[in-house]
């Protein structure tokens, strides 16, 4: 690396208010990207998901060298099982609340329903997502510009759909295995064998997808790393939005001239996150990243071991 680039990089680093947070890149004004309930839901998802993974992993790889220690950390198999089912119950609970909320919101209002399905903010896959996906692969080989994502690109949609799919598969099989005597009264017992396979394989997929693909896309891409804390403090700079979600930013360009809104309102101008908020957001994010990568390490260890 030449001396010139080194100097350049140092300058760029200093320009950032909080260099460890790629959501605060550039000097630009901030906009509200995620509201309080988005962030709380995401934090709750992290807490329950991590609890489920850490208590479930030693059972899936029961012969792995780390499993006894992990089980002991939770106070034994029975206690780990109780914690696992509690976290699963909470996850099912908030997902059901979300589904009820969604249905109540969309049931009677046709316009909202159509917007949720086909609008520019939709989390439902559109033909454009397929086109973006193909363009992205071309871009990887230097044969196209990178895709211009809207509010949610296909990777974010995939995270969301993965949760829906995971909720059905892991949640359904989990409940089945939670109450074997109840379900065993009318379902043949080998359903529990099938449920065990569904639960274990889908959980492994979810874990690897979140801790590798999601972590990479969001946090450790070379131009974003080590942390994108937008989901933790809810704000991102205009520069961030123009680079990560250009299609959406085009639509809300006018927001930059508006006055700052202290209360989180979608797409309004936001105050820059304070040092304290930045610190808490980054600390939480780094802890989550570290544990997630450690879990990937444990999975690799277990797979190589057996």
């Amino acid at each position: 690396m030449s001396e010139e680039t080194l100097v350049q990089e140092t300058v760029v680093q200093e320009e950032r208010p909080v260099p460890m947070d790629s959501a605060q890149r550039g000097d630009g004004p901030f906009v509200w990207r995620f509201l309080l309930w988005h962030r709380l839901a995401h934090a709750l998802a992290i807490l329950t998901f991590y609890t489920l993974v850490l208590t479930g992993l030693p059972l899936r790889y029961s012969s792995a060298p780390f499993s006894p220690a992990l089980i002991d950390f939770f106070g034994g198999v029975e206690r780990a099982g109780f914690i696992h089912r509690t976290a699963g119950g909470i996850m099912i609970g908030y997902t059901l609340i979300y589904i009820v909320y969604l249905v109540a919101r969309l049931w009677k209002n046709r316009e909202k329903r159509l917007a949720w399905l086909w609008g520019s903010d939709s989390l439902v896959p559109h033909p454009q997502d397929a086109r973006d996906f193909i363009q992205q692969w071309k871009y990887f080989f230097g044969k196209a510009e990178p895709a211009r994502f809207g509010r949610y690109g296909y990777l974010e949609k995939l995270d969301f759909l993965g949760e829906v799919w995971g909720f059905v598969i892991i949640g359904g099989s989990g409940v089945l295995l939670w109450f074997p005597e109840f379900f065993g009264a009318f379902l043949p017992g080998w359903w529990f064998n099938v449920a065990t396979v569904l639960h274990g394989v889908e959980a492994l997929l979810a874990t690897c997808f979140i801790f590798v693909v999601h972590f990479f896309n969001v946090h450790v891409r070379p131009d974003k790393w080590p942390m994108d804390a937008v989901m933790f403090h809810g704000r991102a700079t205009v520069q961030y939005m123009e680079e990560e979600h250009p299609e959406m930013m085009d639509q809300i360009e006018a927001v930059i001239d508006e006055p700052i809104s202290e209360t989180p309102i979608p797409d309004r101008r936001a105050p820059a996150p304070g040092r304290r908020a930045s610190f808490i957001a980054s600390a939480f994010g780094f802890l989550a990243l570290a544990i997630g990568f450690a879990i990937i390490g444990m999975i690799l260890w277990a797979v190589t071991f057996s």
């Binding site: 680039t5 990089e9 760029v12 890149r25 550039g26 030693p58 059972l59 899936r60 029961s62 012969s63 499993s67 006894p68 089980i71 034994g76 198999v77 029975e78 099982g81 992205q136 692969w137 871009y139 990887f140 080989f141 230097g142 295995l177 074997p180 005597e181 109840f182 065993g184 009264a185 009318f186 379902l187 043949p188 017992g189 080998w190 529990f192 064998n193 099938v194 065990t196 396979v197 569904l198 394989v201 889908e202 492994l204 997929l205 690897c208 997808f209 590798v212 693909v213 990479f216 896309n217 891409r221 070379p222 131009d223 520069q239 680079e243």
Partner: protein
């Protein structure tokens, strides 16, 4: 020193005078006049003789099983004084009590053979029973009593490797209880009380109910059929399909418990025992153990649940029969009852659960096989596409950043 010979002569004379007068206690008084006086013995012992070895305080003898016997009843060749200087000639068989010496059972024992072949005294009468502190047979038979523990200690004084103080048998059973009082045999002798075909009867002396159920079950019947003489090497070779005896599963020295080098993973010794038993079953039943560890039962047990079903909970511990036998706990006529011992609500549908699933075997359960293949295809497909996506994206941005191309902000 000059006065000592005179003194000893006087004592000896006294002893000689006392002898003809008779009476057991009086006999002993004469003997003890010298043999209970260490100073005297020290002064009078011939060269090369340990005077302490000649010292016989009367206490232990009086408290022993021979408490009412006189010295001369055993020491028949010591009537005259001075004593013959040669070797001790006591033989237990000369008394009216023990008419056979050596004991006929002992004559065929491994101890007798070693003594004959090497000339080394191996467990002859006094080595085990003591000299002047012989315990009475009735005392020896008291389980966990001081006499029995003393006898065990004398066995252990040679058989040090068999010393396991924490073993449940250590302070309740005598060595001779399992290995025969006098007829200890070589480890591979069919006449040994612990030989594979005789072991069940030996253990049954105390554990009758348990032994009864194992005599004719799959293990017991196979053992009789195979007629195995030699002990099983541990760990066994599963390919040999050798039926186990009591000790093959439960161990002997020590009895099976948690493996000594592992930290206890469960809440109680009973649970530790269950876990060790699973390990022992798995040593022969390799494939069923592998499929068991695919289930929640197996995984939770391996991690120390202690509550989750292990081998014996479903198959029985003793009285194990193949599934098609009506006596089996997992026979279709009994399996609902067996499952219900943990899962109270178990019904006919419930027991269709496969406790030894084979997800990769389409013939065993096509639905399980199908879901296994389907789920793993989704897993590998999704991760394959998106790991590649991730790696290529990472590479693209890195290359662009390095060459200064693109619009990356860093």
């Amino acid at each position: 020193m000059t006065r000592a010979p005179l003194r000893s002569l006087l004592v000896a004379l006294g002893a000689l005078l006392a002898l003809p007068v008779g009476g057991a206690a009086q006999d002993d008084l004469a003997c003890l006049a010298c043999h209970n006086d260490v100073e005297l013995l020290r002064a009078q012992a011939s060269n090369g003789v340990d005077p302490i070895g000649l010292h016989v305080p009367p206490g232990p003898l009086r408290a022993s099983g021979h408490g009412d016997m006189t010295c001369a009843e055993c020491h028949t060749s010591f009537e005259r004084f001075p004593h013959p200087g040669a070797a001790e000639t006591v033989t237990c068989g000369t008394s009216s009590c023990h008419t056979n010496d050596p004991h006929p059972d002992w004559e065929g024992s491994v101890h007798a053979r070693i003594q004959e072949e090497t000339g080394i005294a191996a467990a002859e009468c006094t080595a085990c029973h003591g000299v002047h502190d012989v315990d009475a047979l009735d005392d020896l038979r008291v389980e966990g009593g001081p006499a029995m523990l003393r006898m065990n200690a004398s066995c252990i004084s040679c058989h040090e490797a068999q010393n396991h103080p924490a073993d449940p048998h250590a302070d309740t059973a005598s060595c001779a209880g399992c290995h025969a009082p006098h007829a200890m045999r070589e480890i591979d002798s069919p006449d040994s009380w612990v030989a594979p075909l005789r072991q069940a009867e030996t253990c049954a002396a105390c554990h009758e109910a348990v032994t009864d159920s194992v005599r004719h079950d799959a293990h017991g019947a196979a053992l009789q059929r195979q007629g195995r003489v030699t002990p099983l090497a541990w760990p066994p070779n599963p390919a040999d399909s050798l039926a186990p005896t009591c000790t093959d599963c439960h161990g002997a020295h020590p009895m099976a418990g948690p493996p000594p080098d592992s930290v206890s993973r469960t809440a109680s010794p009973e649970m530790d025992f269950q876990m060790e038993m699973v390990r022992r079953c798995a040593a022969c039943h390799v494939a069923p153990a592998e499929s068991y560890y695919l289930t929640y039962h197996g995984k939770a047990t391996r991690l120390g649940s202690g509550v989750s079903a292990s081998c014996a909970q479903c198959h029985g511990a003793h009285g194990v029969f193949p599934a098609d036998s009506a006596a089996s706990a997992i026979h279709e006529g009994r399996i609902v009852e067996t499952c219900a011992s943990c899962h109270e609500a178990a019904r006919a549908a419930f027991v269709l659960y496969d406790s030894h699933p084979e997800p990769m075997n389409p013939d065993r359960n096509p639905w399980l096989f199908g879901s296994f293949v389907f789920m793993n295809a989704i897993l590998l497909g999704t991760l394959g596409v998106f790991f590649l996506h991730t790696a290529l994206w990472w590479l693209r941005i890195w290359l662009d950043m390095r060459s200064g191309r693109g619009h990356h902000h860093v």
